[in-house]
């Protein structure tokens, strides 16, 4: 902690100058941190203990918002279940598919750049645009998939209009947009030393054994990184469920941030929304701590640091 308090006495002229200059250069960030991160975080904690609707003065009610959410709120556990379902199935599936594709791309093939682009582009196209086209493709009456099913004389599938299928359909789209993970995995795979594969080959390991005994262990850090980052970002998904299903049918896709948005900006239940925000913050904090802890154990920095 002594490092934080500048002991100006005992500094040379250059050191003093550097101390001032350094603090001057980073001051925009420090100010932004206080104004746009720390202050709203604390304010959020305060609002979460009030009854507030943007109009009347906030009334302090202690932890009532939290206890209400956990006990009597009709939607909170539904929303939590939906989100955990989406995160719990979507993230592992997304990681598995992305890792498989990255391995295919990493084999000795022509046109790797082309295939990588095809897989990656869906993840950078505006979510509103992809939501629109999926809305159309998955439409029970006019969608292309059901069009094909009709042609074949097979019953149509209500992808987005049935409460049972809406979540799996959104997970499908989530997996489709995992191009970023594919690119990260591919970069990691290309860093695996060739000598390890050669050694395994000499030992008579077949492709399957090489995959499990060389590729997977060497990629554990990046798999873990993507897994935790995936959980953190999937918890915050908003645009796709909001635009595609609006939380429906029957609240089956009412995910955490969709519900948070609705409570804050549609119902104006600022207290409840802030309590939800803080619960989200704690969940994400937990996973961030896990990420940093595990990074110390798993990640090899390649000499730097």
């Amino acid at each position: 902690m002594t490092a934080i308090t500048p002991r100006v006495r005992g500094m040379t002229k250059t050191e003093k100058r550097n101390q001032l200059l350094g603090m001057l250069f980073i001051s925009p960030w420090l100010l932004g941190f206080l104004l746009f991160a720390l202050f709203p975080l604390v304010a959020s904690l305060y609002y979460s203990m009030t009854n507030y609707d943007f109009i009347r003065q906030p009334q302090f009610i202690g932890v009532t918002n939290y206890t209400r959410l956990f006990t009597v709120d009709p939607d909170f556990w539904t929303v939590m279940y939906n989100t955990l379902y989406y995160v719990g199935f979507g993230v592992p599936l997304g990681i598995a598919v992305a890792f498989l594709i990255a391995n295919l791309l990493n084999s000795n093939i022509q046109g790797r750049t082309f295939f990588r682009s095809v897989i990656y582009i869906p993840s950078i196209v505006p979510a509103v645009c992809t939501a629109m086209v999926w809305l159309f493709i998955l439409n029970v009456q006019y969608g292309v998939i059901n069009g094909v099913l009709k042609t074949l004389g097979v019953p149509t599938i209500p992808f987005l209009s049935s409460p049972e299928l809406a979540k799996p359909s959104l997970i499908l789209i989530y997996v489709w947009a995992q191009g970023t993970a594919v690119v990260i995995f591919l970069a990691a795979l290309q860093d695996v030393p060739r000598s390890l594969y050669d050694a395994a080959l000499v030992d008579g390991a077949n492709a399957w054994a090489r995959f499990w005994n060389v590729t997977v262990p060497m990629c554990t850090p990046v798999l873990l990184f993507n897994f935790i980052m995936g959980i953190i970002s999937a918890f915050q998904d908003f645009t796709l469920p909001f635009v595609l299903t609006g939380g429906g049918p029957m609240k089956s896709t009412e995910f955490y941030v969709v519900s948070l948005y609705r409570n804050a900006f549609v119902q104006f239940s600022i207290g409840k929304a802030s309590a939800m925000a803080w619960i989200l913050f704690l969940i994400i904090l937990l996973f961030s701590v896990l990420l940093f802890r595990s990074s110390a154990r798993w990640i090899y920095y390649g000499g730097e640091k």
Binding site: P28, F36, F115, I121, F136, V144, Q190, F265, A277
Partner: protein, 305 residues
């Protein structure tokens, strides 16, 4: 499609000296299976975007026909123009580009560079702990602070303006500060010392020495910040409440309501697909021309699209 020079060599042809015919056959089979899988995956991945683009060129009968029409015939190229003018998309594009994406991208780069310089190139007491706090803020989800920030910005009278996006961009972004700092540190200190001897101050060194050498990192910042603001949906949804101020993402959503409410003779779907294609197109084009920057940005810091 531009191709990236592959700096990392492909995994070796592991079967270099096949002693048996069966091994040659096995290698050939594996390669063929890989290609077939990749082509199938590629088609699946690109299909939604293909469907978006081709549906833009159809008329209503072609949209609603069973079996689905794979190649529009005849193609209605004027759909793009008609869809664009059906709502005032020129205005939305102006808002997206000049009020949101460009200023936010420019200011984020400027502020993040100054802060990153303070963290990378000047040594002063307290630098490391503050940098760790900066990194930690990357984990703070925007959704957690959105309610108190909304209340604050509302008091400033910033509702229905782009100030809630532009002003925070003046204070740097933790992701880009981190990325630029890592890059700045790789620039030899001797260059800065030489400039100091020639009488340059720190801003002069940043501007004349560090900036010209940091073009790859700067490109990553520009690219991703532009992408994020172009694609942003939740932010404008909260702050923008008149049609005249809407960015493209919200204008498309307005058209969705139309598509779902109007009949099968309203050209709703072709027009919805046409504007989605037009809004996605700049991102796809930027990717094609700056592919390398994208891939480097993701592989080095795990930036998400």
């Amino acid at each position: 499609m531009t191709s990236i020079p592959q700096t990392v060599s492909t995994p070796a042809q592991v079967v270099q000296h096949p002693s048996h015919r069966s091994q040659v056959l096995l290698g050939w089979l594996t390669r063929s299976a890989t290609y077939i899988l990749l082509v199938l995956l590629g088609i699946t991945w690109i299909f939604p975007l293909y469907w978006m683009a081709t549906s833009s060129l159809k008329d209503d009968p072609q949209i609603y026909t069973v079996p689905p029409v794979l190649i529009p015939d005849p193609a209605f190229w004027n759909n793009f123009g008609d869809a664009w003018t059906r709502f005032d998309f020129n205005l939305a594009a102006f808002n997206s580009v000049f009020l949101y994406s460009l200023p936010v991208t420019f200011f984020t780069l400027l502020s993040s560079m100054v802060v990153a310089y303070g963290f990378a190139k000047i040594s002063w007491r307290g630098r490391e702990p503050l940098f760790w706090i900066c990194i930690a803020t990357m984990m703070l989800p925007w959704q957690v602070t959105m309610v108190p920030l909304f209340i604050t910005f509302k008091q400033f009278g910033w509702i229905n303006t782009y100030w809630p996006f532009v002003v925070p961009s003046l204070f740097g972004n933790a992701y880009f500060i981190f990325l630029l700092r890592q890059f700045f540190r790789s620039i030899p200190e001797e260059l800065s010392d030489a400039a100091r001897i020639d009488g340059a101050d720190e801003f002069g060194i940043l501007w004349r020495i560090v900036l010209p050498l940091s073009k790859p990192a700067i490109a990553v910042v520009l690219l991703f910040r532009f992408l994020w603001s172009w694609n942003d949906y939740l932010g404008p949804l909260i702050y923008i409440n008149t049609e005249a101020m809407q960015p493209l993402a919200l204008a498309i959503y307005r058209m969705r309501t139309l598509a779902l409410s109007m009949g099968t003779t309203s050209m709703a779907y072709p027009h919805l697909m046409a504007v989605s294609t037009l809004v996605a197109l700049p991102i796809i084009l930027i990717f094609i021309f700056a592919q390398r920057t994208f891939i480097e940005g993701i592989s080095t810091t795990g930036l998400k699209g």
